[in-house]
């Protein structure tokens, strides 16, 4: 019996399972379609009952699939399970987080989120790196550290769950925006400006949701965004570049090769900010761009013409 299970047979799920296999030993990898893992330590399954035998369960599926999967697997789990998701998504215009969804749809309470500069390729290759676990429960952070931490992976912990989730989601959005700007030929100054003002915006949104400011300068915020800017090959950046080349949304998404959470976040954050009477110009501009309501040039002009205040 393995103590750890990973739900989701996509690139990130498989990479996570490989990391667990390297660090903690045997791992159960659940996916909807039967598949061979090619590794003795990774036990592939399609049965939720096998997942329920583990104590720590990672949920590595895009946010649009989380609700349905959580309901299904929730029927097999109970209070003993530690449930950790890796999604970069938020739900609805009130920015419901995935961990809130997990608490509402499963009997699990010891939930958490794993975030930071973790991408499938680096994980699979065992490159030195790190991440952060947001959970109110210290035992969840400890369990994740035991499962994937090691000589090449440092896992930090924080109780600012909502901060980690908002930061992680908005980094996805800004990675897309920066990819777009770079695709349009803008240089490092534009990238730095977008990254810095973007994180200021993310911090404002996070604070309105009850997050802590320092989370946004940590691994889930700036740390993650630096990895994206440095070109860790994440789908959001590729999606942004494809859009800059003038590809329609569907084709850009196809080129990114994975579900791009950041594309949906822009509109959600813009609506949230409007309701809370707060400023989120980059998200609003991105939402206008992605919905086809404004061109890249118009968004840029609008952003650059805003009144400048103290930083």
């Amino acid at each position: 019996m393995s103590r750890v299970a990973v739900l989701g047979g996509g690139g990130f799920g498989r990479a996570l399972a490989a990391q667990v296999a390297r660090t903690a030993g045997v791992v159960t990898l659940w996916s909807r379609q039967p598949r061979e893992s090619g590794d003795d330590k990774i036990r592939a399954t399609t049965r939720f009952a096998d997942v329920a035998e583990a104590e720590l369960v990672f949920l590595a599926v895009p946010s649009i699939h989380v609700a349905a999967l959580a309901r299904e697997v929730g029927n097999h789990l109970d209070g003993t399970h530690l449930l950790v998701h890796v999604s970069r998504g938020l739900l609805g215009n009130d920015l419901t987080t995935i961990s809130q969804l997990l608490r509402a749809t499963t009997p699990c309470r010891r939930v958490g989120v794993l975030a930071g500069p973790l991408v499938a390729r680096a994980l699979a290759e065992g490159e030195p790196g790190g991440g952060v676990v947001g959970s109110l429960f210290p035992e969840v952070s400890d369990a994740v550290r035991e499962a994937i931490g090691g000589p090449t992976m440092r896992i930090y912990g924080t109780t600012d769950v909502v901060g980690v989730e908002i930061a992680s989601a908005m980094v996805g959005l800004f990675a897309l925006g920066i990819g777009y700007a770079q695709g349009r030929g803008f240089g490092p100054a534009t990238t730095a400006m977008l990254a810095t003002r973007g994180m200021a915006e993310a911090t404002r949104v996070g604070l309105a949701c009850g997050a802590t400011e320092r989370t946004f300068s940590g691994l889930a915020g700036f740390g993650d965004l630096m990895a994206a800017v440095a070109g860790d090959g994440r789908p959001e950046s590729m999606f942004g570049r494809a859009l800059a080349e003038g590809l329609p949304l569907a084709e850009a998404a196809a080129r990114a090769g994975a579900f791009v959470e950041g594309a949906g976040i822009a509109g959600q954050v813009a609506a949230f900010a409007e309701r809370h009477a707060m400023e989120a110009p980059i998200s609003a501009g991105m939402a206008a761009l992605l919905s086809g309501k404004a061109s890249g040039a118009a968004v840029l002009a609008q952003l650059m013409s805003r009144p400048v205040r103290g930083e």
Partner: protein, 566 residues
């Protein structure tokens, strides 16, 4: 008043009362008191184990107690002062055993000071007297009549809603912890009466020592099992004793009550940020029981207490505005306001119509799961789930304070959510909401404090206001249908015109200044502070209640932003 004793009185006992098997658990309290205190002290000694820990704890207690007693002048204070100074003098020379013994002594004294008493005779007397007293406070004009016919009259004034049969069943299966909203000092009395009337077991709760300073209330509180919480004592040791006391009581199966809001809601809004000290002791009690194999469930029951009129509304909203605005809020008519408070106090004794609805929410286990009639915890899909799994790690039930603190925070969120959906909208709250929204509409771009200075200069034609009231009531009923809130019967039943008349009449008899009044066919917003106070209860629903024109929606957005930023 100072000559009267503040130490709780007990009646002399001529023969020992032997509880009947059908008596609620609280009837056993006196025979268990010494055991409870020694459990509390044992827990304190477990908490402070190392020499350094104990020294730190005693130093902190001595420092805080010396400061407190230095400010007092009575004889008792000088004795206590000498006691604590003696501890400070001896502490550095004490052996480990000496320190432990001193800690035991201090904790025991504190625990006995906290522990209450339960006298079945007082309980039986109160059962008869409370209806009359409560009716007298809520509707003093009919005091004499109500004393003669108290039960029936009080039934009209205080009503109870929610899964009461289920609560009765759960009280037999485990320990029930009631967690109501808090906006008036009448809350604990109103709850006590409803429990009595609905044949639910009495509960123990921590009453502020200020309630004990009145000898008559003190007598009742003390002899009905309430324990004393002295907020003037700042020592960490005292707080630990309080928490352990409440945890031990829950562990031993005493149904309890605490107000998670901590103090009365100043703004009139439903509490969102809860102080969870005592909820934490409920979670801890569950863990401790299960870790030693005692499978006694703990159920938390959120409840909302909804008043058409709040006794202390003026004082509370004043406090709220001072806190919100700090230096920006200028108290007008300072001297007058003092007189006003006195008159307002006596105005309680004038004729009025009042109502209070206590609505119990769905009971939940310490992990926020709903429970069924048989007390089983239900997972979101309706499947039963064993609550013990939440305190189990690697197959063992364990006590883990960090984990339990996290459960407590989540439980707080679940209780706060329940407050939202179990709120009963009262007519005065809806009328205040509609008038306040009009005030916001009439003062675009102003901040709250600038708006509140518009005393009596915003007039709304009566027919416009009743139309608004009717539309907003319809929106409220729509929210009720979607399970978002509950609506008071009068509000559902009466015409908008009649609601307006009744609310104005009710306010008029209660508050010193008119909250709103009709002059030449228009309603004047006379007391914006009180309108804000009463309307705050519905401010979280502002956007959904504004189904009128664009101006209403813009005003509702402003109100909603106040809620979102609170």
């Amino acid at each position: 008043m100072k000559l009267l004793p503040t130490k709780p009185l007990r009646l002399p006992r001529f023969r020992t009362y032997v509880p009947a098997p059908t008596d609620p658990k609280i009837f056993w309290f006196n025979s268990e008191r010494d055991g409870i205190v020694s459990d509390v002290v044992r827990r304190i000694l477990e908490r402070y184990q190392g020499d350094e820990d104990i020294e730190l704890c005693l130093n902190d207690a001595a420092y805080n107690e010396i400061r407190r007693h230095e400010a007092r002048t009575d004889e008792g204070a000088s004795n206590r002062l000498e006691y604590w100074r003696g501890i400070v003098r001896r502490l550095s020379r004490m052996s480990s055993e000496g320190k432990q013994e001193t800690l035991r002594e201090c904790a025991t004294k504190m625990a006995y000071d906290v522990a209450g008493n339960f006298d079945p005779r007082v309980y039986k007397f109160a059962a008869k007297a409370v209806p009359g007293l409560l009716t007298a406070v809520m509707n003093p004009a009919s005091m004499i009549r109500s004393l003669l016919d108290s039960g029936a009259r009080l039934d009209e004034l205080v009503s109870a809603q929610g899964p009461i049969d289920k609560l009765r069943a759960l009280q037999r299966k485990g320990t029930v912890v009631l967690a109501p909203t808090h906006c008036s000092n009448l809350d604990s009395i109103a709850i006590a009466w409803v429990l009595l009337r609905e044949n639910l077991s009495p509960v123990v709760y921590g009453a502020g020592k200020n309630l004990f300073s009145n000898p008559i209330i003190s007598f009742f509180m003390h002899n009905l099992g309430a324990y004393r919480v002295d907020r003037r004592i700042k020592a960490t040791l005292y707080k630990e004793v309080l928490k352990s006391y409440s945890s031990v009581m829950i562990e031993r199966g005493y149904h309890s009550l605490f107000f998670p809001g901590g103090t009365r809601s100043r703004s009139g809004a439903i509490e969102k940020r809860l102080k969870l000290g005592l909820a934490g002791s409920g979670v801890e009690a569950f863990s401790r029981n299960h870790a030693r194999g005692v499978r006694r469930p703990v159920y938390f029951v959120p409840a909302t207490i909804n008043y058409a009129l709040v006794l202390e509304a003026e004082t509370l909203v004043d406090d709220y505005l001072k806190e919100q605005g700090r230096h920006r809020y200028i108290i007008e008519d300072d001297e007058f306001s003092r007189v006003e408070r006195w008159i307002s106090f006596f105005s309680r004794f004038r004729a009025l119509e009042s109502a209070c609805v206590i609505r119990f929410g769905e009971p939940m286990d310490p992990f926020g799961n709903q429970v069924d009639e048989d007390g089983r915890s239900l997972a979101p899909g309706g499947r039963t789930v064993d609550p013990m799994t939440y305190v189990t790690r690697r197959g063992q039930a364990v006590v883990d304070s960090a984990r339990d603190a996290a459960y407590t925070r989540e439980l707080g969120d679940a209780i706060a959510h329940s407050y939202g959906v179990e709120t009963v909208a009262m007519p005065t709250q809806l009328l205040a909401h509609v008038i306040f929204r009009r005030m916001v509409r009439a003062t675009p771009g102003l901040d709250l404090f600038a708006r509140l200075r518009h005393r009596g200069d915003i007039a709304i034609p009566v027919d416009e206001l009743t139309t608004d009231l009717g539309n907003t009531r319809d929106a409220l009923l729509g929210l009720e249908q979607r399970g978002r809130i509950h609506v008071d019967a009068l509000l559902r039943r009466e015409s908008p015109q009649r609601i307006l008349e009744r609310c104005l009449a009710t306010w008029d008899g209660y508050h010193l200044r008119p909250v709103a009044k009709i002059v030449s066919g228009s309603v004047l917003a006379e007391d914006p502070n009180l309108l804000l106070y009463y309307s705050n209860r519905l401010r979280g629903f502002a956007a959904e209640l504004a189904i009128g024109n664009e101006a209403d929606r813009a005003a509702a957005h402003d109100i909603e932003v106040m809620e979102l930023r609170s």
